[in-house]
């Protein structure tokens, strides 16, 4: 599949190449000048580049350098721990949710004509009820800000008598509630986006609806959605920083403490360094997603990569860098 972008304009001829070169030079000059006059100079005039502020972060000979980095490392470990736990549990529960919703959809079509009337009615009511509940669950947790969900979990659970001890778990639950819904919808739309023939071929062969979902649809949805799932990891990694609201000591909160503890407060410098690390890690992850996407497109071990799979209301988070 060719990129739309490459067919928008023709391969440049000699004149187009010349124009491109001239405009390029102008753009580069403008960017450099802007960076110098609008960013570098004002910062420099305020002494934001002084070693007093940067030393603790970049000068190994600085007396607090190792302490600062030890704390930052602890912060990153806490961030990664929360993110890893959240993504794993989101995957597990999200898969369950997706399978549940797909199965309920199939179940709602059945009439249970083989069973006695009361039993059939009971079963149909149950499956109808479960569909409604799961739909509500999805809409609510998809529509709530993650900060609110986390805060709510951390304050409501103890109030309801559920005490998990470590705040890590409240953060993990809060992140999971949101991300399992997102992942569940990614997988569900992945399964529904597969060519209808896959399900039909399986059913025509005599596989049951659950067997079809488990053996045919889910594995392919996982493969197709792998890039989107990896991108979701980026989202989780970023969202762990919301743990500050329940004072979970992830890297941003630790950064705040470091800034207060240093003799010369240097928030701009600390956040610049932490932000850069975040960007590097997440960029690597999205490159991985891109790579996986390309491998999938080449190997085509799945029936099809649907034209656009992100379900409504999710695309923002899951749109892998590779795809767009």
């Amino acid at each position: 599949m060719k990129d739309q972008q490459t067919v928008l304009y023709d391969a440049p001829g000699p004149r187009a190449r010349r124009v491109t070169l001239i405009v390029s030079v102008i753009v580069v000059l403008a960017v450099v000048a802007g960076a110098y006059f609008l960013v570098y100079r004002p910062l420099d005039e305020q002494g934001q580049f002084s070693m007093d502020l940067w030393g603790p972060l970049i000068d190994p000979d600085n007396e607090v350098f190792s302490q600062v980095w030890a704390r930052l490392r602890d912060g990153f470990v806490a961030t990664l721990t929360a993110a890893a736990l959240a993504i794993v549990s989101s995957l597990i529960f999200g898969t369950a949710l997706a399978v549940l919703r797909i199965q309920l959809k199939a179940l709602n079509k059945r009439k249970f004509s083989g069973l006695a009337a009361p039993a059939a009615i009971a079963l149909r009511t149950l499956s109808w009820f479960l569909s409604i509940v799961s739909r509500f669950f999805v809409e609510i947790f998809r529509g709530l800000p993650v900060v609110i969900t986390i805060f709510f979990v951390a304050s409501a659970l103890p109030e309801l008598g559920v005490d998990l001890g470590d705040i890590l778990w409240y953060l993990v639950i809060g992140l999971t509630l949101y991300n399992m819904v997102v992942i569940g919808e990614i997988l569900r739309s992945g399964m529904e986006g597969l060519p209808g023939g896959q399900r039909e071929a399986a059913e025509a062969m005599g596989l049951s609806s659950f067997q079809t979902t488990r053996m045919i649809l889910l594995p392919q949805a996982f493969r197709i959605m792998l890039p989107a799932l990896i991108s979701q990891l980026v989202v989780v990694l970023k969202d762990t920083s919301l743990g500050f609201i329940i004072s979970y000591e992830e890297v941003l909160r630790v950064s705040g403490q470091i800034i207060q503890a240093l003799p010369e407060p240097n928030p701009i410098q600390v956040y610049a360094v932490v932000g850069a690390i975040y960007i590097l890690v997440n960029y690597a992850l999205s490159k991985l997603a891109e790579y996986v996407q390309r491998r999938l497109a080449r190997g085509r071990k799945t029936a099809a990569l649907p034209a656009e799979q992100p379900p409504a209301a999710l695309a923002a988070e899951i749109e892998p860098a590779a795809k767009v």
């Binding site: 302490q67 600062v68 704390r71 304050s155 500050f244 207060q260």
Partner: protein
């Protein structure tokens, strides 16, 4: 932290302390372990340092109590108790005591008990050193001065009643350092909260800031503990009084909050309600 000279008087006779059977003091002494709730982000009172350990006046007070219980410093476990969760941590027994710039008031007394107060703070206003236009909370009534505080805090609620228009006068962040940055770069004219916190910032930014006028509230800081544990409360009150007189209180102050305010407070009378 300056803990080296404050605790050694008591730490030699750790095992020799005995307490009446069945009391909290006996339990903690036997266990040789105490969990103290404090703040991790309050300069001068409880701030997690670069070594990862909290330090400050509240922490020192906690150490004095622990010492009196016969528990050495390295057996103290600190947990973070931000404002919203303090009562809960005490009720659940997750913290044996909470020393965390904890203002004594009646609403809180419904859920927990307070020993102390061990310090009486008061809300005040921080302005730039050359600012003469703000002299107290009433200066905000005109509606042109902007003030910063922390989201969900009592000082923020207190200052609101002096404001002509909340939307164009009040700025709230999650921590005070952000308020200081905003004051520095001119987005706000003042920062308000308990005087001790403000003193900390004055000390850290020599000559830049000053307090505008007197404290306009009283914030007696107490030590939170489980409701109904009168024996323990009495013990802590006794401990505080002892510390007032034997210099440990003064030492704790000098090494921590005293760095910002060289005027050593006199220990306030404890309230044995």
């Amino acid at each position: 932290g300056g803990d080296d000279d404050s605790g050694d008087a008591g730490s030699t006779d750790t095992g020799s302390k005995t307490f009446e059977a069945g009391t909290t003091m006996e339990r903690l002494n036997k266990a040789q372990k105490i969990v103290i709730g404090t703040k991790f982000d309050q300069p001068g009172f409880g701030l997690k340092g670069l070594d990862g350990k909290p330090a400050g006046f509240d922490v020192e007070i906690g150490k004095i109590v622990a010492d009196e219980l016969g528990i050495p410093e390295d057996k103290i476990e600190y947990i973070e108790t931000p404002s919203a969760v303090r009562e809960e941590k005490i009720e659940k027994g997750e913290a044996d005591i909470v020393v965390a710039t904890y203002t004594i008031n009646d609403k809180r007394k419904e859920r927990i008990d307070f020993a102390g107060p061990y310090y009486v703070a008061g809300q005040n206003i921080l302005v730039k050193a050359d600012d003469t236009s703000i002299t107290g909370p009433d200066s905000f009534k005109a509606g042109d001065k902007k003030v910063c505080s922390v989201q969900g805090s009592t000082p923020a609620a207190n200052i609101e009643q002096y404001l002509a228009n909340k939307g164009s006068q009040l700025v709230l962040f999650d921590v005070y350092t952000k308020c200081i940055d905003a004051l520095n770069s001119g987005q706000v004219n003042a920062v308000t909260t308990d005087n001790v916190i403000l003193l900390g910032f004055i000390a850290r930014n020599e000559g830049k800031f000053k307090l505008a006028g007197e404290n306009f509230t009283e914030e007696p800081y107490g030590i939170g503990l489980k409701k109904g544990d009168t024996a323990f409360r009495t013990f802590i009150n006794d401990t505080l009084e002892k510390a007032y007189s034997d210099g440990r209180y003064e030492g704790a102050w000098k090494d921590t909050a005293g760095k910002f305010d060289d005027q050593v407070p006199t220990g306030p009378a404890v309230n044995r309600y």
